[in-house]
Symmetry: C2
Subunit: 796 residues, 2 copies
């Protein structure tokens, strides 16, 4: 077991690593050439269009103002400047509430740390007989500060139990406050939002196919009958998955074309060539530019055909639709009620934001959803408990002998002693490392197979799966020896009362491991987050090979968004560690506090300067965060009971039994009290907002139908230029962007005559739109190319 | 262990008992004097107003037609004559669907019995080595027919596993069909119902108290704002629990008065007297008639005061209301949506039928409901697992020594040898028997404390509690030795995989016990049900002491209704037994079949001729029945796995693992598919019915507001006569009844001047009602006594 000194050394190393990252960040971020990597949010917001420092040629790429190098931590106070309401305006409610998780961590753990250190450390230290055996150093220093140091049957366990009660009450109180706050913020956020398509829209799934009637007709008929006063219009959904695949492939070809053209421009003496075979490894050598141009042309033809097919073929209309209502009240009613006698038909739910829709899953037949969920649940269970089996199998293959057999030419290198020992140490772990690296992707794919139709839901589901993986394999796996599979086996064959004992008794011994884990994963990990090494490299690579215009550069900067599927679970793991160890080994708490404070600063900076959220779910993840913390409380109570029962504290342990019951009741109360705010839209709110709109509407003439007409059009049916211009509408720097757009059109060879027309159409008054006769099935307009035409359609 | 011969003897005894009951029933039911006990439904329906056979004086009481004595089983074909749709009209959907549970049992178990007997018995019998040891008779005959007879590791277990799959699939298929049928019947029943108050009404709980506004004002304001197009009116609820108590007490006094007056009439020579003290045991001797008249007068005064208080005091208006809407659509929307930002305020639910409302629980503050539920859950858990502790305590007191100490004068009697041995055998069991007798009442009280506001919900909840009690204490308790508490203790300290083994291995051994149980509880118990011994005795006692008029006699007949809290759980227990033993000991199945067939006949007869349902819930209990059968399937699968694993059938047992997963998926699918029909009212249905009403309305002029105005008035605020007359309105034999009513008014001394006036008011055209100016708060009218006056108010 580690001594306090060992921990100190480990802490020092990790602090140094963290500082190295911070220093690197400080140096890199003030270089103008990196400005788009470290401040993309301001470019997207329109707050900045080029790096701040101009001057001579060198200063364009390197920062020559040496004064700024000295104040390398000044991003921290800057990150704290923005108020919460500004933050919500700047980055959305999701991001603001995400930051509140860190402040919640601080609010919960600062008082707990103070109380635990002041009360428990003296109690633990002064209690043990071990304390007087200091000379022999039979136990680690950490253990002397923990509950292990207390004699069995000691009366002092009442202190621990009392504190467990106190901490539980405190955490529940903070959770209640926070849930209340977040729920209010969510409702306030919706109330203060401008008129948005999703407020009036409901997604209807499993529309029944009536022979002789189109989906569109049955939709119209059904909602005109059953919501006569409120139904406005609907938008059918096309199965454009095949088309989307073509678009993606074409984009890849376009990238290659751009790359080759750029290469040719830089070295005009030599036309780039490539081999046509597999991965360009063999086959006939051809001119690259011609080859890709030819390929793109073929693709354009294919896509035009496919698009015609999608639009013309009634079979490509999915039994899903976005139905819009005249008022928020009407939409709220439709989303919350059962429509049909058969509850598996005409299933209505709130529509996600247009940008939050995961279009591909809309094509999944509704009937298969139950089976998909079942299969994925079983797979996740298998993944959590048996993931070691395939990895062990791969490990058994990926040894040095196998490598030599596959690649005999490497033998001389491998036979070198120091490389051999390195590989022998490295190879077996490689499969595991690769698996852990791609695990979030696997979980995301699993969530996709489950068939959720919103990106936000997908991310939440992936996050839940990742949390359970970590709970079993990081938390339990570290405490109990053996693989998760062995644990599962032993748990199934142990009595249910034995399990908390087995785990509880190992808890204090693993404190040093988790302290190290917090420092490596929490401290150094977060510091690496701010450095954005991967986006930095990608940006510069793209900049070098693909970027021809300012617009390309903008597209290359890829701000990303908070990676909820990975960040939330690890955050929840820290809550679990803090809550479990608060009473057992309180010395772990300061390390968690440092993590929360540091991570808060880093993410605040990133959210202000970097991330550009893909969607706005209105903090829909909060109920999950709340439930996970409640779960952590329950786990901590069970484990403490197990631990105490091995300490023969029979007179005090039964006092703990009531605590889980109270915690569960609290959870149930909170669920009743606050969760509906995240699931349903109260009619009172809807009506209030409708009334407000009716009286204080800033755009009283805006025709709602026109406003909603193409809100839920598959994004693939819009050309990219057009999409950008639609965004421009809400931008402050409209003129700026239009100018740069016009430049792009001239400089790029993606000449498209139609987008400017269409983009104005959207901003033009509604009668103009009506003049164009937009039917509810707006996508029909796709058949009139001039309006929606893809740039490749009109290419020469 | 019992041999087949033992079972035969037991069967014979039980069949004889059952026949004795049936014979007694056949004799008693054809006596005209018992006509009101065995055919009350026809009196209530108005199909019969006096016993069928008239003739001379003796024939009024005793059946002299000896021919009818010979055909003593002819009620059976009669019971089968009525078609299901007639049955629904006659007794309601609840009763019709209740009978379907029995036919479902038959549909499930007839094919299973045939297959199991044909396939499993030969497999089991031919398999064992035991078969060849017949001479020694080391095992019971039953065991030779069961799975116990199969050699360990035998390949024949594949037959059992295959049949378990087959039976599961068959049961699931039948369950699906039946759920589908019942859900359709429910929707059809609602669709075919005439205009009813509950279709337009929603019960709103936790109406916030706004200082300076009455509950009524805030209700009006809230619903006018948030449901402007649909809100019609509301009825406040008064806290009349104290008043109801007074009414109950007064009724008791009235009974005593009636009794004494009748006594005096029969023996005019001696005026009845009583002592005023405790239970009439001591105190001053007074004239009974005067005493009770005096007491009633005092009560009337108290009640008048209390009534004034209830009506005048704004504090007696509860934060609960029945809110009515202009259309079913409006009510369906309001019931299914969240109204307020704070989801614990303005909670809306479907209103139960007026006669189904459990008024007392409306006064329970909403905040306390969560705590009540928690406390009751814990109590039920304690009751199920620890009920033996208090009973053992009582038993230790209630022995002969204790009895002698308390009642020394009994000593000579007790010391008699045969009485002593009888008591020693009897007393210890007495406490347990009393407990089991009052258990349903205890569970019902517990459900009431939980705070449900509908009688139907109360009965369903009590039924669920009783089922779990039986599952643990009858099913598991009989299989595993020891009290439930000991079982719980051992289960907590066993590994989860060990539990099904422990139980599974004992299952075949207990088959004979359960066969006996089925015969005693099922066969003889059901036969005693048809005899109606208790109501018979009570009716004749009342007839002797209390009945002065025909109306009193009608009231004394007490038809009762199906006792769901006791019947459903035992029914579900039979399903459990059948499903568990189908594969293990198939010889048990025929006994269950006999039970289902016999009970079906008996209950069909009772429902047609006796029971008068208190409420109509539209078969709301069906989802519970369905879930319990699914639970039984899961239990049987787990236990079979346990049993097989002790048989070392390692190669076949894993095949069973997938079955529970499939069963659970099926359950989840059914829940999604059908349960909403029992929880929500689809808008499509509501709208269709609204539209139908609008076009084909038979009472187009009826003002809906007047129709709904007093639908949800606390029944205690109506006098009994009035209530009866309101019922008359829908009766076919209107004239008949009015006549008898007029008779009653003249012969009874409960002279009430107002009811006839009021009763016509209800049937008179709406403008008449409007003329009386019924406000939404209809109960205010109570302050104008002539309209609603209680008969005691105008008494001299």
């Amino acid at each position: 077991m580690a001594t306090l000194g060992d921990i100190g050394v480990s802490a020092l190393i990790n602090i140094l690593i963290a500082f190295a990252f911070l220093l690197a960040f400080a140096l890199l971020r003030i270089q103008p050439i990196n400005d788009r990597v470290y401040f993309p949010k301001w470019y997207i917001n329109g707050g900045r269009s080029s790096p701040r420092r101009g001057g001579n040629f060198v200063a364009k790429f390197v920062n020559l103002n040496f004064h700024t190098y000295l104040t390398f931590l000044n991003w921290m106070p800057q990150a704290l400047k923005m108020s919460e309401s500004e933050l919500i305006n700047h980055a959305g409610l999701d991001s603001a509430v995400f930051l509140r998780i860190y402040t919640l961590g601080l609010k919960i753990f600062v008082p707990i740390t103070v109380v635990a250190l002041l009360i428990l450390i003296p109690v633990n230290v002064s209690s043990g007989t071990l304390f007087f055996l200091r000379k022999e150093l039979v136990v680690s220093d950490i253990d002397k500060l923990s509950i292990s140091n207390v004699r069995p049957q000691s009366i002092r366990f009442f202190v621990h139990i009392g504190l467990e009660y106190l901490f539980t009450i405190w955490i529940c109180y903070m959770l209640y406050q926070e849930y209340d706050n977040v729920a209010t913020m969510r409702l306030h956020f919706f109330a203060s939002q401008h008129r948005r398509a999703e407020q009036f829209t409901v997604v209807v799934r499993n529309v029944p196919q009536i022979p002789g009637h189109s989906i569109s007709d049955s939709l119209d008929h059904f909602f005109k009958t059953n919501h006569p006063d409120h139904y406005l219009c609907h938008q059918a959904v096309y199965d454009a998955n095949k088309f989307a695949k073509l678009v993606r492939k074409r984009n890849r070809l376009q990238n290659w074309l751009d790359y080759n053209q750029l290469k040719f421009e830089r070295h005009p003496e030599k036309r780039p060539t490539k081999k046509t075979g597999f991965f360009g490894l063999w086959g006939e050598r051809v001119d690259s530019i011609d080859f890709y141009k030819q390929q793109i042309k073929e693709f354009d033809k294919k896509m035009a055909e496919e698009r015609q097919k999608v639009v013309k073929d009634p079979k490509s209309i999915l039994p899903v639709a976005f139905v819009s209502f005249k008022s928020r009240w009407g939409a709220a009613v439709c989303a919350q009620t059962q429509q049909s006698k058969n509850p598996t038909l005409w299933i209505t739910n709130w529509a996600p934001e247009p940008r939050d829709v995961y279009w591909r899953n809309l094509a999944i037949p509704f009937v298969s959803l139950t089976i998909r969920k079942l299969i994925i649940s079983l797979s996740v269970f298998a993944l959590v408990f048996f993931y070691m089996i395939p990895i062990a199998f791969v490990q058994s293959l990926a040894n040095l002998e196998g490598l030599e057999r596959v690649a005999p030419f490497l033998r001389p290198v491998i036979e070198l002693n120091f490389i051999k020992s390195f590989l022998q140490g490295f190879l077996p772990g490689l499969a595991l490392k690769i698996f852990l690296y791609i695990l979030p992707t696997i979980l995301m794919i699993m969530s996709r197979i489950e068939g959720h139709i919103a990106l936000s839901t997908l991310e939440r589901r992936a996050s839940a799966k990742y949390y359970y993986f970590m709970l079993v394999n990081v938390f339990l796996g570290s405490i109990v020896t053996g693989t998760a599979f062995q644990q599962l086996h032993s748990f199934l064959h142990q009595s249910p009362t034995q399990i908390p004992r087995t785990i509880g008794v190992s808890i204090p011994m693993k404190a040093t491991f988790f302290i190290t884990y917090i420092m490596v994963d929490g401290w150094a990990g977060i510091a690496s987050e701010i450095l954005r090494l991967k986006p930095l490299v990608i940006f510069h690579v793209k900049n070098m090979f693909l970027v021809k215009t300012e617009r390309d550069r903008e597209r290359a900067m890829d701000p990303g968004s908070v990676d909820y599927p990975e960040t939330l679970p690890s955050l929840q793991l820290y809550f679990l560690l803090g809550i479990v160890y608060a009473v057992v080994t309180p010395i772990l708490l300061p390390f968690i506090l440092v993590f929360f404070a540091f991570a808060y600063l880093v993410y605040r900076h990133q959210i202000i300067n970097v991330y550009n959220p893909q969607y706005e779910s209105g903090a829909a993840f909060w109920p999950h965060v709340h439930s996970r913390i409640i779960e952590s409380l329950l786990i901590s109570q069970l484990l403490l009971m197990g631990l105490l029962s091995t300490k023969k504290a029979a007179n005090s342990t039964p006092l703990l039994v009531i605590l889980p019951v109270l915690t569960l009741s609290f959870h149930k109360y909170c669920k009743n009290r606050f969760e509906p705010a995240f699931r349903k839209y109260p009619l009172e709110e809807a009506m209030a907002k409708d009334i407000m709109d009716g009286t204080t509407d800033t755009e009283p003439d805006l025709n709602l139908k026109a406003f909603l007409a193409d809100a839920y059009l598959h994004p693939i049916f819009r050309s990219f230029e057009e999409e950008e211009l639609v965004e421009v509408r809400v931008d402050k720097v409209r003129v700026d962007r239009h100018q740069s757009y016009a430049d792009n059109v001239q400089t790029s060879d993606l000449s498209s005559p139609s987008p400017p027309h269409y983009s104005y159409q959207l901003t033009s008054p509604p009668q103009d739109i009506n003049h164009h006769g937009l039917p509810p099935l707006y996508a029909y307009n796709l058949s009139s190319p001039p309006h929606y035409g893809y740039h490749y359609e009109v290419e020469p």
